[in-house]
Symmetry: C2
Subunit: 342 residues, 2 copies
DNA sequence: ATGAAAGCGCTAACAA
DNA sequence: TTGTTAGCGCTTTCAT
């Protein structure tokens, strides 16, 4: 009933402060507020000041969803990882997120829990948000999800693996080469009876297959493999060594699909007073920082986890901003870090 | 130049498939497509079928940003945590994310790296996305950020701490009580000369202050405290014990602000062949799974990290969907898990 | 350097 | 049950 009742808004209105409110107070057009905030250098000093004043007076926080919808730039990067708990991926995510933050991007995190079913659903949600880029842990096999990803046109970086047919960009290393290299390394050191402790996951599978195959090629006895399924725990690593010793007491070298499992094997060896590395060698995978200064320090296949995250951020941001990424297929390699356990 | 050239779209158009395209193919109105997707039970079977067909034919993925803008519901929850690397928060985040996913929500993750400056910037970005809820690690002190959060009207849950003045909801425990309880526990066990190893963070500060104060209250000699700053590593834990022994060789019990630091202390003790727990007791904080089955198994102040995440998800989702949360202030407590190291 | 108009893709509100 | 209309809050396009 006020005289200056604004035009009757027939429907909604969420109540929050909008560009329009700020514009009215600053005595400018909404578009000027937008420019003052996003491209301050294209606006005169005087107007800039007035807008800033109005912004702080009202506590205006721009609605980024509206901005994204309008500009088709979301400043959002989505990452899909299997798990964060004591996993080698945490460092990748941390470096990815830090780099994104510095460039003004946000990270959306989806955890697939190593479940293919979940990955599919996750991807729908991810694409629906129209992120400017997608970070994938692992490579995406031919599937419905892959088709949707391809169709979306969103820049994608697959990581932690290599393939001749990436969706788009790729930052990884060869799991096959690792298995082979570890077998050769053990052989070199004079170990003769190998075992493997692994979780159920496709990449571990390839490392272990190559390890087993190489041992066979070199004329060794069959490798005793324990698959711990989805129980990626230290305890399960301990049990695995117990199983191995029961069934193949002459095993003298164990390759584990993760540092955590290797820590378990090491722990069980200690419990049984088995001399490491004299009687038993243990090799981990990943290179989480903690293992380096334990006693005994764990030898491992070291992956530069942070580098993967940092590179991925760089590539994704470049593409999001329309730049061309020169060499978007990178093999970051690996290195066997010899420590006390081998 | 085609005869059926559509109405000349004067401006933009991102090229992707939209509701309109699907609607045209299915021979219905756009809103019907929207309903068929979001509320399938309000649409006749026949139309539902036609819409689904059109969706799969076109590969339509709804633009959730547009939907959010229109409905003021983003189905996004933002979480701000200090760090993910070997941190006790990973389990909280994992359980939070899992619960959110099951309810159709996405997680946006921001890492503050324990930097107040970063937290402020992060919060701006977070509020700008208009998430349906915000998960905070720790409590937010009076500050500009707190004001903005309050003003935003977004449901907030603060965690991992207690305060009489939460912003909104709260799921935590008393750091003061922990420090006190650990001192009492050590005392009970007959230890007499305490030390502490801690990182720079406000919550560790309160645990340690209470620990120190209680020891004093009980007539013990001053507690020797080593502050490792931001170096939350196993190695730094080792160094810390070395420092302690150099300056206070009669120390017989060490309380650490994290399990990782405690693992370092334990490792150094082993390197020096100091009998644990006879000559030296070590207590960690957090309860990361790995410590339970190591040798020696680390005693720790166990926090139910997953429960915090799960509860937070429950509360945040309830509030996002307009429901009332009955008791939004929860003390999840803690428990001292006695293992080999004490 | 600034503004007016249009529209990003979706759904709430109202109508039939 | 289905459709029409309007508008969420912003920025692009075009004009001045």
């Amino acid at each position: 009933m006020q005289a200056n009742d604004p035009i009757k808004r027939s429907r909604r209105n969420s109540g929050a402060v909008t560009v329009r409110d700020v514009a009215k107070i600053a005595g400018v057009a909404p578009i000027t507020v937008s420019r003052a905030i996003n491209h301050p250098d294209t606006v005169s000093a005087e107007l800039l000041r007035r807008v800033q004043e109005a912004v702080s007076k009202t506590g205006y926080v721009p609605n980024l969803m509206a901005g994204s919808l309008s500009s088709s730039k979301s400043k959002l990067i989505a990452a899909v990882i299997p798990s964060t708990v004591f996993s080698v991926f945490t460092e990748t995510i941390e470096s990815l997120n830090n780099a994104l933050f510095d460039a003004g991007y946000q990270l959306m995190l989806g955890q697939s829990q190593y479940l293919a079913s979940r990955e599919e659903a996750l991807l729908g949600a991810v694409i629906g948000r129209r992120p400017d880029g997608i970070f994938l842990t692992g490579i995406m096999p031919a599937s419905n999800a892959r088709k949707r990803l391809l169709a979306s046109g969103i820049p994608v970086v697959e990581t932690w693996d290599l393939t001749p047919t990436p969706i788009d960009m790729l930052i990884g290393f060869s799991h096959h080469d690792i298995g082979r290299a570890v077998a050769d390394y053990f052989l070199d050191k004079g170990y003769k009876q190998f075992a493997a402790v692994r979780a159920s996951d496709e990449r571990a599978d390839r490392r272990m297959s190559a390890f087993v195959e190489r041992a066979k090629q070199q004329g060794l006895a069959p490798v005793h493999v324990v698959n711990v399924g989805s129980e990626r725990t230290l305890t399960r690593g301990r049990q695995a060594l117990a199983e191995i010793l029961e069934n193949a007491s002459d095993v003298d070298a164990v390759f584990c699909s993760s540092d955590l499992l290797a820590l378990g094997v090491l722990t069980e060896a200690r419990a049984r007073k088995i001399p490491v590395p004299d009687r038993l060698a243990v090799m981990g995978f990943g290179g989480v920082p903690i293992i380096e200064n334990m006693i005994p320090a764990l030898s491992t296949v070291q992956i530069n986890s942070s580098k993967i995250g940092a590179l991925a951020a760089e590539y994704l941001i470049a593409r999001a901003e329309g730049r061309v990424v020169e060499a978007p297929i990178v093999d970051v390699g690996f290195s066997i870090h010899e420590r006390d356990s081998t």
